[in-house]
Subunit: 323 residues, 2 copies
């Protein structure tokens, strides 16, 4: 006779451009048996499938050791997932899985259903379930990393759009007549002003106006957004200016979100959110300056709380909703 389960357990996988992470997560949001491997550097989708299946198998083995059973498997990927076909499109950081049916390939090997979701969408759910947006039902989550991902949760549910490609707020124009072209082809995307990549570019562009900045001593090609943040924290005027500028662009996007969707909260996650205090005041001020008073007063801009686990937690939330 099996014991009644007090909590359900699901296996969540976060396939990133750099690392592949997996964990068993229970219905109270506790993370168990967490593992992290480098994502295979490959152009073969089959290699990615093998790596993800191995991660799930590891989680299953670990769960079995404590007599726990995984009820569902959920994978999040750095690309858009087309709604009906579940084909992955737009995954520049894991090109091997573009135009590939990852979930179907996993299902064939695991002999169980696999849920598939975009990583930024999952991060929004993770923050709503266990992070900064607990208790809110309508939020936008912006993940500021190498690029800018986003997820939209409306009245408790992810908004996927007609094809599953909704929520690309990182690729809305905050300076449509500027000089910076995004990798996506558009001019003036939020991503080219609010990502880690953007912070490095804007800093380099501003060197000539700030010859005294300590950042001038960093060798060409070595500059990172982290270094710019550290310099800002130590009072470097160039670095402070870059984060104010980045915050202003973020505030333009936030105002557009607020007037369009009237959310309760905009959650800022991703690696760049470590510098939240450096850019948030400018973002908040710009949002209030541009958006209508009623929805602007309602919408808080807050720092994400789940860190690297947001995607895993969101993946688990989706899987638990199916159990």
């Amino acid at each position: 006779m099996t014991q009644p389960l007090t909590t359900e357990l699901v296996c969540a996988v976060d396939l990133g451009g750099t690392n592949l992470r997996a964990a068993n997560i229970d219905s109270s949001g506790c993370i168990h048996e967490h593992v992290k491997f480098p994502t295979p550097d490959t152009d073969k989708a089959e290699d990615i499938v093998d790596a993800v299946v191995a991660a799930v198998a590891h989680c299953e083995t670990e769960a079995a050791k404590r007599a726990a059973r995984i009820e569902a498997v959920s994978v999040v990927v750095p690309g858009s997932v087309q709604a009906e076909s579940r084909v992955i499109v737009n995954a520049p950081n894991v090109p091997a899985i573009v135009d590939f049916e990852l979930a179907e390939a996993m299902e064939a090997k695991l002999q169980r259903q696999v849920l598939l979701e975009n990583d930024a969408n999952a991060a929004a759910l993770g923050e709503m379930w266990q992070g900064a947006a607990r208790g809110s039902r309508t939020i936008v989550c912006l993940t500021l990393g190498t690029g800018v991902g986003s997820g939209i949760v409306l009245d408790g549910n992810l908004w996927h759009g007609a094809d599953g490609t909704a929520g690309e707020i990182g690729h809305t124009s905050v300076n449509p007549f500027g000089h910076v072209r995004c990798k996506c082809g558009n001019i003036g995307c939020l991503e080219v002003y609010a990502s880690a990549t953007a912070i490095v570019r804007m800093t380099r562009e501003a060197f000539s106006n700030h010859p005294a900045s300590q950042l001038n001593s960093v060798a060409e090609g070595d500059l990172t957004a982290r270094q710019v943040a550290d310099a800002a924290t130590m009072g470097d005027e160039l670095a402070l200016e870059i984060f104010r500028k980045m915050g202003t662009y973020l505030g333009i996007a936030a105002a557009n979100i607020v007037n369009t969707l009237n959310p309760e909260m905009i959650v800022i996650g991703g690696g760049v959110s470590a510098a939240f205090d450096l850019f948030a005041p400018a973002a908040q001020a710009e949002m209030l300056r541009r958006a209508f008073p009623v929805p602007a007063a309602r919408c808080q801009i807050v720092r994400a709380e789940c860190g690297d686990d947001a995607g895993l937690l969101g993946a688990a939330w989706l899987a638990l909703a199916r159990v």
Copy 2:
């Protein structure tokens, strides 16, 4: 013994800045007993209540003459309706009803429930029910008139946001670093480039570059968007340029909508949509240039089909959904 009703009948009222229109509308979308009065030029909310109640009473009397019964009453207004309080905010064209509970005041006089909705939201529903978006479930409708209103329908339902103020796409920034301040206080709203007012302003600003334009002969203060459209239709280069420019800005907003919401369709209504063929090619091209390929290919930009009746039809749809 009463006869069984074959179709339900509701009374829809569209309170505009210029005219107050009302009609009885049946569940097949047929419009009966349509009336139109000038909206009272008043700063007293009570005068507006009296006018709207009189319009409903007229519709009730007319329905009674053919032994039909009105099942529900629905009013749309040119302002945001706060979700819980049903207080109207942001109604620059009918200032008497700002911060006023119009529905409650009507209910007290009519002794029946009254539904209240924003006019641009209702227009989106009207186009989905009886117009250009028949068969679609996820659309954005932009109403280009004196200002730019918009309504967002997601999976068949209006998206109101946390407070009821969502859908103000006319006040998202399409040129945030431009020189044009909107009445709302923001710089570079879609409204200052895509409304009738904007067309007149942009035409005046371009006069000096087009001394040969026939529009130069129009007396200061007399120029209308209709005249600019007529001139464009006759090949006037200044007028054609203005509509291309307006279409470009509309395309920037459309690309932001497409990447954010992934809708099936963007419907363009309002008086300015009479010039659809003059601005739509530029809008479509700009949207395709800026948005991601998958959602851009999916989203059609189309001309509204319900004309001045869109708001009434949307109001009726809401009322019928409650019957």
